[in-house]
Amino acid sequence: MPMPKESKDALAKAGEYLEEIKHLASKPFTIMEVCGTHTVAIAKNALRDLLPPTVRLISGPGCPVCVTDSSDIDRYLYLAAQSNVITTTFGDMIRVPGSKKNLQALKAEGADVRVVYSTQDALEIAHKNPGKDVVFLGVGFETTAPTVAVSLEIANREGINNFSVLSMHKIVPPVLRLLAEDEQLDVDAFLDPGHVCAIIGTQPIEFMAKEFGKPGVVTGFEALDILEAIVMLLRQREEGRSDIEIQYRRVAKAEGNPHAQTVVKRVFEPVDASWRGMGLIPGSGLGIREEFGSWDAVRKYSLPVFHSPETPGCQCGEVLKGRIYPTQCALFGKHCTPLKPVGPCMVSSEGSCAAYYRYYQRSDD
């Protein structure tokens, strides 16, 4: 079958980018892709195969499931086991292991756990089951927070009282600061998350370039987007600049999405949050404001705080901080596989361990 013209053009463009990357990367250059969707796109398109050895791509903390702390996991498992509760969640959370079990095991024991694809579905379930309490597990970054905020406003407006959200939402800028301050981190530049920045804009991450001298490019998710962003970062080095630039112009604007920002501010407030393997990061989480307290699962069920230890041997934290490649973890591919995951980085489809397992190599390599 002849190749369509767009594909031919894209191939030619990719060739040009790769040529320029080779030309500009005479010295080593390490780039962290912050977002899990980038990790998957890089792996799926086998981009590492095409880059010169001087350009290193390492994965960062940008998979919301992966950074969910063991204590938070045990807390929602405790909630899901309550009678009369219907737990609604995005599919990725179903197999994430807590200290003792996961949602899938609870479901087999009789807990009512349902996978939904949007908060709208969760509201719908609440509407159809007036005698039950529906809890939505709010896991995600700035990208999912707006729709969850909207669902809380709908619940408030329509008086849907059998619906609540357990907010484990996190925001990206504080964890970027933590990474930038980490003396062990060997990263020259960042591929910044396209969809997060489409919401928050570039201002909240400008400090990376200005204070820490770490340039960043807000990047889209196609192979060509990523290659172009790498070219843009290398050009910055060549020109001695350190800026936050936008490659993903068709979606992300410098000012972000003011409407989404306003909705999130109305419903959520910044709180300290625990990140798996990274500890408590001040102001890095989104808690539900008191005005919406009736729909906040923590208040509604007076949920206890759990102090769960992290799984021994699991190096998800080191992976998330970009200190090791997933394959350098002793458990990778042997004791920890997508079928029997030890840490969440192996469960989530956007987790770096799962992406490496799927697309690169196995324990027997």
Binding site: N45, A46, L50, S349
Partner: protein, 330 residues
């Protein structure tokens, strides 16, 4: 509305009415009409036998229903083994309360699909369970085929062989997904559910070494199984994979990979390189094969590994499906 009651499975008058008024009405033939505890069918020296159970939810989906699926699934398992499907059993487990009208539409579809595939339903069974003990309707079919051709199997696969697929991938699972409760989305994609024996008869020839239907686990999992059994490596070309725009769109939206989606009317066919062109041309000439394509080659290299070359020239591993994609898709 008339519904299935426990008495329909009692063996008494209502059971009898169901058999006469529904099963014999649509499925009757000289074999089924023997009405004995076992049916006598003509045989030959080499027979192929297979069985499959069907629990798909919802019962009716874009492009098919559980009845059509129950015939196609078993017919296709026989056909890709190189056998000519001849006879099928049909065993039903009905949940109390199932609307009779739905059952009738399904049995009608079983009859139509059996006719399309050129096979006879030769025996059957019906059980009814209390409400809640099953979900509407489960079906088991066992198929018998005549094995006249030489045996196709993975041991014959060698480096240099060519990997063909008879059409677009992932259609069935996307069609089911789009009809699932809580996930309804508009898509023009319909299930590819179809009996493949006619298509296979049209292209089968000397150079065909192995055939499989990539159902659950999709093309990726089936090729991994073949690569392991044959002790070879395989290389797929991403841009040559036939994928409908609707399937690609849904995959992008839901974060799925078409290579892992179930198909119910496609065959992967491994052929000698010399035969590839003629086989592909024969596929294209058949209504079920007009989107057939060469998607890769068998190569030397690490045994059991399936690789994929992206349009930009990078290569990555295509592993087996890990865990569960989606329950009850067939």
């Amino acid at each position: 509305m008339e519904r299935i009651m426990m008495a329909h499975g009692s063996g008494g008058r209502l059971s009898h009415e169901l058999i006469r008024g529904l099963f014999q009405k649509y499925l009757g033939n000289s074999f089924l009409d023997q009405m004995n505890d076992a049916t006598i069918v003509p045989g030959q020296e080499q027979l192929a036998v297979t069985t499959d159970s069907f629990v798909v939810s919802p019962l009716f989906f874009r492009g098919g229903n559980i009845g059509r699926l129950a015939v196609c699934g078993t017919v296709n398992d026989l056909a890709v083994s190189g056998a000519s499907p001849k006879f099928l059993s049909l065993a039903l487990i009905l949940e109390e309360g199932l609307p009779l009208e739905e059952l009738e539409r399904i049995i009608q579809s079983v009859a139509d699909t059996a006719k399309e595939a050129g096979i006879s339903i030769v025996c059957g069974d019906t059980k009814v369970v209390e409400r809640g003990s099953a979900d509407k309707l489960f079906i088991n079919t066992t198929g018998i085929g005549y094995s006249n051709r030489y045996f196709v199997n993975p041991q014959q696969i060698h480096p240099g062989d060519v990997i063909l697929i008879t059409g677009t991938i992932g259609d069935h699972e996307i069609a089911i997904l789009s009809d699932r409760e809580g996930l309804e989305f508009e898509t023009p994609v319909t299930s590819d559910c179809a009996p493949l024996n006619g298509l296979i008869d049209s292209f089968f020839q000397g150079g065909v070494k192995c055939m499989r239907d990539p159902t659950r686990g999709g093309v990726a999992t089936t090729l991994n199984e073949l690569a392991q059994q044959a002790g070879v490596s395989m290389l797929l070309k991403e841009e040559s994979l036939p994928i409908l725009p609707g399937v690609k769109g849904a995959c992008d939206m839901l974060g799925l990979d078409p290579l892992y989606l179930a198909n119910e009317g496609k065959a992967l066919v491994i052929v000698k390189p010399e035969a590839a062109e003629t086989v592909l041309r024969a596929m294209h000439a058949h209504p079920l094969g007009h989107r057939a394509a060469q998607i890769g080659v068998v190569q030397e290299g690490k045994p059991g590994f399936v690789l994929l070359e992206t349009p930009l020239g990078g290569k990555r591993i295509v592993g087996m499906l890990e865990g569960e994609h989606l329950p009850r898709i067939c």
